[in-house]
Symmetry: C2
Subunit: 399 residues, 2 copies
Amino acid sequence: MKIVHPRRIVGSNAERTRLHNRQVVLGHVRERQPIGRAEIARISGLSTQAVSNIIAELEEDGFIVEAGRQSAGRGLPVLQYRLNGDGAAALGIEVRPDAMFGALVNLAGETLFTTREALPKNDPKTVADVARRIRTVALHGRNAEKQDILGAGVVMPGPFGKVGISGAGQTALHGWEETDPVALFEDALDMAVVVENDATAAAVAERVRGVASGLRTFCFIYFGAGLGLGVVNDGEVQRGAFGNAGEIGHVIVTPGGRQCACGNKGCLETYASRISVRSKLACAGVEIDSATDIEKLYEAGNPHLMEWIGEAAGPLSQAIGMIENLFDPETVILGGAMPDEVLDHLIGALHLPGGSVAAREGRVSPRVQRGACGRLTAALGGAALVIHDTITPRIAAKT
Amino acid sequence: MKIVHPRRIVGSNAERTRLHNRQVVLGHVRERQPIGRAEIARISGLSTQAVSNIIAELEEDGFIVEAGRQSAGRGLPVLQYRLNGDGAAALGIEVRPDAMFGALVNLAGETLFTTREALPKNDPKTVADVARRIRTVALHGRNAEKQDILGAGVVMPGPFGKVGISGAGQTALHGWEETDPVALFEDALDMAVVVENDATAAAVAERVRGVASGLRTFCFIYFGAGLGLGVVNDGEVQRGAFGNAGEIGHVIVTPGGRQCACGNKGCLETYASRISVRSKLACAGVEIDSATDIEKLYEAGNPHLMEWIGEAAGPLSQAIGMIENLFDPETVILGGAMPDEVLDHLIGALHLPGGSVAAREGRVSPRVQRGACGRLTAALGGAALVIHDTITPRIAAKT
DNA sequence: CTTGAACATTCAACTTGATTGAGTTAATCG
DNA sequence: CGATTAACTCAATCAAGTTGAATGTTCAAG
């Protein structure tokens, strides 16, 4: 499977400028809605007239709607606008080795529909077929004329390409070595497609709708099959040179520690991940299959699970300290396929290092918090990626 | 000391578009020189005419010069252009607790001049005075009319702001809590100023002139007073939310390991940094003061220094594995205030983890390499930052 | 109650800069 | 040597942002 994000540096022209400005205006509406033309003009540096033209265009396209007049002191009361949730939607698809999830999310970040389809095999053809089915089901009953589906965000487990840790086995998809997933899904779904790993998608989901709403720089630790890190830096998703950034699960936290499937010892994943819970409980004779199983065990106060939390907290604290020192984020979010209660307990059990650039005076966001998007984050995140892309301006780069 | 990089998302217009396109063209000239209009048009997506106009403008401003005709197959031979090294220059200033360094670098990345000034005190006023002196000396004899100084890049030791590890003492500057360094230096130097930490500046220096020349995503481990990490992601410098990203020295590599001045135990800095060499040698009764001292000891085959290398290699390997997994860079560069021979030896002693996304097939850059800019990297890097800024297009963001 | 300052919005003329299409020039190929 | 190919220029066109005057609305002072 090869995913390439080669950004060619391209020039701009009037048309691209307009596209950029459209996204700027839309972004400001999203962030400070309801809001009027004049204020957008002030914060965007555009003239009122330009904003006015763009507003008219956005309204015509159904992306925004009027939100009444608001008199603030003297002068003509502001004619405000807000996002039109129903104006457009994006499809999110998550591919796991044994199942696929679909989600439809509207411009406002509201979830309109979710679904789950079992995956008998996970070769490209089967996955494409199921993706097509998800598309059909998710868009059923929508007016096809309206053309209001912005695209699809497909979430697949990394790492991409042939790398040192791909042999892990259970998390990987087979038969994808030579497939370009973007082309595959664009063909199957007949719409624009972005492909991203689960952690990144989850991070973006939190930005579009969850606890990272107003933040431009933050990190998301994602409990998937392994453990991933999604990084948003200055509003920009961070992928690395080959699309494999954020493989935090295989960062070594205790040299010479527990043996990991990747061949190294002391990987974070052997302490804090679903793999590690599973093996911890397996030792105690308890088999688990899903996050729901974990939830039940937690509610029952299972001592082995509690012990796992205790053992995971140390390495995780250390990893969070590392993240803070390396990325200097506004906050670190924990989420993914792990029950909220367990995440909360885990966060409570952390003892974050004092010696960190994050131990600063006057923080506004907490150093660590739980994500708000729940367990379906990844599929929602796929859709959120698309929403995010239509709202975040980018001129300099082109695929 | 407060450094803020709050990027307001702003709109674009014809003028800003032109600025962007200018930088795009200049960037392509730099990267593929000598090069003709038509090819720039192809790779930039601009029309030949637009490129032509911009080329004319750049030539008039002295940024580029003709580089002869090159006949390639049929058709009119290409009229090529290349960067005019002498067309413009940037001032780089590095502030260390006890001294300041100055460097003048031209557009082509060539070093025109370097200087060192002792720093009796390091309060803002003294530093500003010395900066002014450096400016005078560095620009002495230049035609002031020409206005070809693009600005200054000032490199200061991080972390910025009041954070958990600022108390380290010896590396910090005093009396800067309430100072805005950008304003201070802009006032003192009477030109545009960017402020950055040493590791980031060094990374950019390698991109403008050294081993990271063609790379868009890489990391630079910088041996300064402590240990810093400079990250360039997709051509963009990474600062974090508060300008303190890259504090790799205080990442914990061995929980419960050596006591660090920051209060934590097992920080990377206690194994691999000048602080750690110094304390290693101090235990053996050898006092060192500069990188030159280390160089002499290395040439003499000092056993304690060799032992230090052996002890540093492990934690450093682990940290590099971590960097690879988190940032997925094209390469990791080692450099800073450490003799080349020692860095080479250290790199040779590394045993990089196999389980890393960087252990990929078909690599082009080595996983780890030594920087090419030598020990003055930081001051050069300051200037490089300015050069980099004039060449790298950015519309979406504004300070 | 009137007047004017403050502010949002619109209209129409203007400006900037990119694109387009028709030449012009200079190589190579047959 | 003529046909072809490619780089480059010129002049007209076009898209989109800016500017400044005009038009509403509201609040506050006289």
